[in-house]
């Protein structure tokens, strides 16, 4: 049994049947991290003591013959934007370089209550702002499939940790594509649930109306198990929806025959790499072969998604990042003489270039005289983009697209051109704006061996259909 390659069910039942122990699984993960992570850079902080305590608790339950919870003994990684009690949480920023949260994020607490062993915190773009992980204040992450390339972002560390078998599953966050795009670049499964499906309590806010927590995993079933664990109403987040959580795992095997799949020409236009196009088109053919009906749909406002996103996300970010004032928990510049100097110098030294750029853009878009032209305009276009999906979903059950226009690019390739970097999110931002769920699953490789991702988008709160289609494709591929 290769301990670092197990699925959730295989790991849990091996521990339950005493074929291995949670401690052994945890040790195997740390050994793998020790061996691989110096060159990959997926982890920012490890919490071995906390992990060992949890593993020991699981092993004692197993020894007593008690039935183990669904994630018992499963080594997991948590993106460093989710608060973990007693474990440093930086959001990839120097401004939170020494922050130790006094409480757990709800999603993390639910994973842990289900028996998961938290190995540590994964690297990410600063405040989840980026598409390559190069905006981490600590170090970039290298794609495990090709170390000269980026893992995608912003959940690049989480995707790399899962792709390199350092963790069985990981939690990431998605504001404009930050779970699905790195999943696509690293060749793993990444699921963004519907906005409101998973509590954001304890997630360090980037853009509150767009932030989602979701899983990165090696199989669709593992992603479904994690979603079932973390989903559902949480009184600590008033935007979390009070809806029953279906059993996503039980629904996976339902046939997909007869489901209507939308294909939108707006997602196959200029800028889409040929190899990616071919891989996605053959994936669509495969789904057709499974009995799905392919239906052309139109999402006419798609070309306006990136500008809309960068106004709304930066406006919300400029407000959310105002809290880093050097007083309560963030970095304070040394030797400051007045309050205003303290604010300015602490923020100047604490934030990286991209965070500052977004704070500036967002502040500009919200400032007197520009609010209507930029922020309000973007909110109205957000309505139009959402209506596009509503219209399409009257005709189809799900929509299939490429996750990203290209496979993983090289480190440094786009880092001097913010706009080119923003365009890497062109197929993912629309779902964040509309609040609909989306998954990226591997659908082949380029000639150079780089993974390509297929994106499946679903109706609000219909993760079940998205997962079912993804599972059917995964099993057939």
């Amino acid at each position: 049994m290769q301990l670092t390659k197990l699925t959730i069910d295989a790991a849990r039942s091996a521990v339950q049947q005493r074929k291995t122990t949670a401690l052994a699984l945890t040790e195997a993960s740390y050994a793998r991290i020790q061996k691989e992570d110096e060159q990959i850079g997926a982890f920012l902080t490890l919490c071995k003591e906390r992990a060992m305590e949890q593993a020991d608790r699981i092993d004692r339950m197993a020894a007593e013959g008690k039935p183990l919870p669904p994630l018992a003994g499963v080594p997991v990684a948590i993106k460093d934007v989710m608060s973990t009690r007693g474990v440093r949480t930086t959001a990839g920023s120097k401004i939170l370089g020494n922050y130790i949260p006094p409480y757990d994020c709800t999603a993390v607490a639910r994973m842990q209550a289900a028996g998961a062993v938290v190995l540590g915190k994964t690297n990410c773009d600063e405040f989840a702002m980026g598409s390559s992980n190069e905006n981490s204040a600590f170090r970039p992450v290298h794609n495990p499939r090709d170390l000269s390339r980026v893992p995608g972002g912003s959940s690049g560390g989480s995707a790399a940790a899962v792709a390199a078998d350092m963790a069985v599953v990981a939690l990431g966050s998605d504001t404009g594509g930050s779970i699905r795009q790195p999943a696509s670049f690293c060749g793993v499964v990444g699921l963004m649930p519907t906005y409101g499906r998973v509590s954001r309590y304890g997630l360090i806010a980037f853009a509150s109306s767009l932030d989602h927590i979701g899983p990165l995993a090696r199989t669709v079933k593992d992603a479904a198990i994690v979603l079932r664990t973390i989903a559902g109403r949480d009184p600590m987040d008033s935007t979390s929806a009070d809806l029953p959580v279906p059993d996503y795992v039980a629904g996976l095997e339902r046939p997909v025959r007869g489901l209507k799949l939308g294909v939108a020409k707006e997602y196959f236009g200029e800028g889409l790499d040929d190899e990616v196009r071919h891989a996605v088109e053959s994936a669509i053919d495969k789904l057709k072969g499974l009995g799905c009906e392919i239906v052309p749909v139109s999402l006419p406002h798609t070309p306006y998604a990136i500008p809309t996103y960068y106004l709304i996300a930066t406006a919300e970010a400029s407000s959310n990042l105002a809290r880093y004032d050097g007083v309560r928990y963030s970095y304070r510049a040394p030797g400051v003489k007045s309050l205003s100097e303290m604010y300015r110098r602490s923020r100047d030294e604490g934030f990286g270039a991209e965070a500052k750029r977004r704070i500036m853009l967002g502040t500009y878009a919200l400032s007197a005289g520009y609010y209507d032209a930029y922020y309000l305009k973007a909110q109205k276009v957000r309505t139009l983009l959402t209506r596009d999906f509503e219209e399409a979903f009257r005709k189809v059950d799900a929509i299939v697209t490429p996750t990203s226009p290209t496979a993983a690019f090289r480190l440094g390739e786009k880092s001097n051109d913010p706009l080119a970097m923003y365009l890497a999110d062109i197929y993912t931002v629309t779902a964040d704006l509309a609040g609909i769920p989306g998954i990226s699953i591997p659908c082949g490789e380029t000639r150079q061996g780089l993974p390509i991702g297929l994106q499946i988008l679903g109706k609000h709160f219909d993760e079940a259909t998205v997962l079912r289609l993804a599972h059917a494709y995964e099993q057939a591929a």
Binding site: Y195, T239, Y310, S338, M342, R344, I359, Q379
Partner: protein
């Protein structure tokens, strides 16, 4: 050029950022390039379109209910301890760059 050097200075001031001369020049270039791209939103007529601030604006979970009724689940009774106990003073001060055990300490507030 939509954004001028003066705008950059004004916005940096609003955002409590100082920015070096080099950063300001970069910001001027980047903001103009991004705003140029954003201009394309002007092509759309949004005269009679409602703004969308939250996903739940459109998707309150129970569509049979009207207005704020749809989000009744989001409110709760106002109880003194809330949903979790407040942080202890010690715990609340633990991450502060400068504290005296009772208060956060900051440099002089009133300048003269």
């Amino acid at each position: 050029m939509k954004v001028t050097e003066k705008d950059v200075a004004y916005v940096a001031d609003l955002a409590n950022l100082e920015l070096s001369a080099e950063e300001r020049a970069g910001m001027l270039r980047d903001l103009n390039s991004i705003l140029d791209y954003i201009e394309r939103l002007g092509e759309l007529d949004t005269e009679n379109v409602e703004p969308m601030a939250q996903v739940s604006d459109r998707y309150g979970v129970d569509e049979s209910k009207q207005g704020s009724e749809r989000f009744a689940y989001a409110s709760r009774e106002d109880v003194p301890e809330g949903l979790r106990k407040s942080l202890s003073q010690e715990s609340a001060l633990e991450n502060a760059p400068d504290a005296d055990g009772t208060f956060f300490r900051v440099p002089k507030v009133i300048e003269r």
